[in-house]
Symmetry: C2
Subunit: 251 residues, 2 copies
């Protein structure tokens, strides 16, 4: 019997390529004083899908895992070294998602803080998620799933740290959250929820003076610079128990 992961396989499996694709988001101020959630894309110069816009990424090398590969490709190909968060979204493996060789992609969600504003290669640009250009292959689906993941995690993790600049006012943070979520956010509740969860701390210093008057805003920063689940939403769990105990079941 030869079931399982033994390395015996039909010859045509040699043709399967493994690539990594990252949907990198950032919040960028717009000219009209608003903000937009943008994703980083580059325009294909050659067939197939010439002229369409692709996610940055490329082939997995033999000495790296997919996470390392995503970081490397973002640094090499679009000069992004300050990626504040990166996580797997899923595998995209429809047999003919690429027209030539069979290629399986691991999709990633990447985030870049608002104040990073890296220099980009000429054929690369930020595009508003709400108004995407024509995208290559299945990259539109990857962007969509990454966006949904971001929206979900904004509410039950501290993932906002990866979009916010080092220091910010609550009003600025509200704009970032509202832009990424696609709906308005109450700055009152945002402030206190993140404070209660211990994710936010005032720096003590005061923010930029508003020329038109008004109380100057206190500057804040995130206390933790890596992903942390802040709302375990664990139903059915006894109140006193902490982590999910791995002990044998009752009775």
């Amino acid at each position: 019997m030869t079931h399982g992961s033994s390395p015996s396989f039909p010859g045509h499996l040699q043709d399967t390529l493994v690539e990594v694709l990252a949907a990198v988001f950032t919040v960028r101020p717009t000219k009209d004083g608003g903000a937009s959630l943008d994703v980083l894309l580059w325009q294909r110069g050659q067939q197939p899908d010439a002229g369409k816009w692709s996610l940055p990424g490329g082939m997995l090398l033999s000495a790296e895992d997919v996470d390392d590969s995503a970081r490397r490709q973002l640094a090499e190909k679009v000069d992004l070294t300050r990626v504040s968060h990166l996580e797997q979204i899923g595998v995209f493996s429809a047999p003919h998602r690429m027209p030539d060789a069979r290629t399986v992609a691991t999709g990633f969600l990447g985030l870049v803080p608002l104040d990073a504003d890296p220099s980009l290669p000429p054929d690369t640009a930020w595009h508003p998620v709400g108004a995407l250009p024509s995208t290559a292959f299945d990259h539109g689906r990857i962007i969509d799933q990454a966006h949904r993941r971001l929206q979900a995690k904004l509410s039950y993790t501290n993932i906002g740290f990866a979009l916010a600049p080092a220091e910010f006012t609550v009003a600025e943070l509200r704009r970032i959250y509202a832009t990424a979520l696609g709906h308005d956010v109450d700055p009152t509740n945002l402030h206190r929820i993140l404070l209660r969860r211990g994710m936010l701390a005032p720096t003590g210093t005061t923010g930029p003076r508003n020329p038109v008057g008004g109380r100057p805003a206190a500057l804040h920063r995130f206390t933790i610079a890596e992903l942390r689940v802040t709302d375990p939403f664990a139903a059915f769990r006894p109140r006193d128990a902490e982590g999910p105990t791995r002990q044998p079941p009752p009775r």
Copy 2:
């Protein structure tokens, strides 16, 4: 400039293989009247890692995506056709996770209902998650991640449908949840939470008589047989808004 997913690549990339591995869980009654959460494993007969226990799975074929592949391999290799739920866990791609050829695995969480009890090939067996034998390669990590995913989703989705038999009493369902979660569960709250969420419905019929007396239990069933998020836990969201609106940000 050749960034992105163009099919130009160094020759050594041809050696990357793509496999699919499924951690299939089920809740099984034990002799002492309890229950245990078990995972399906098969014992390797050959090197490498001969004698150790592996997850079922195998190589991705050219005409299928990874989800189809997982379903196919479970049906072909361990005769599991009644898999009630299957979802991707993530990509496992450490460069030397397999000693011979470079192999990238897509890990899956699979679930089988308590009343299925399929016939298994001789070298295949259910093992309690709390007392695993020595596992091959990185399969232990895959099992662990799948288990955690299951525990999390039990609280905010209807994923219990995939572990429960077609009809059951609340007490039986309590045992299933407690076994999968690893801690006790209050049958009162379990019952009403699932009722309020519209996931559970009484069949009207009454359950098996208890020989020692007591009120006979009402039989129930899940109303929906596919994964549904029942607790959106979306903080910062205005109360009236429903789904995450994709409209442009405020201001």
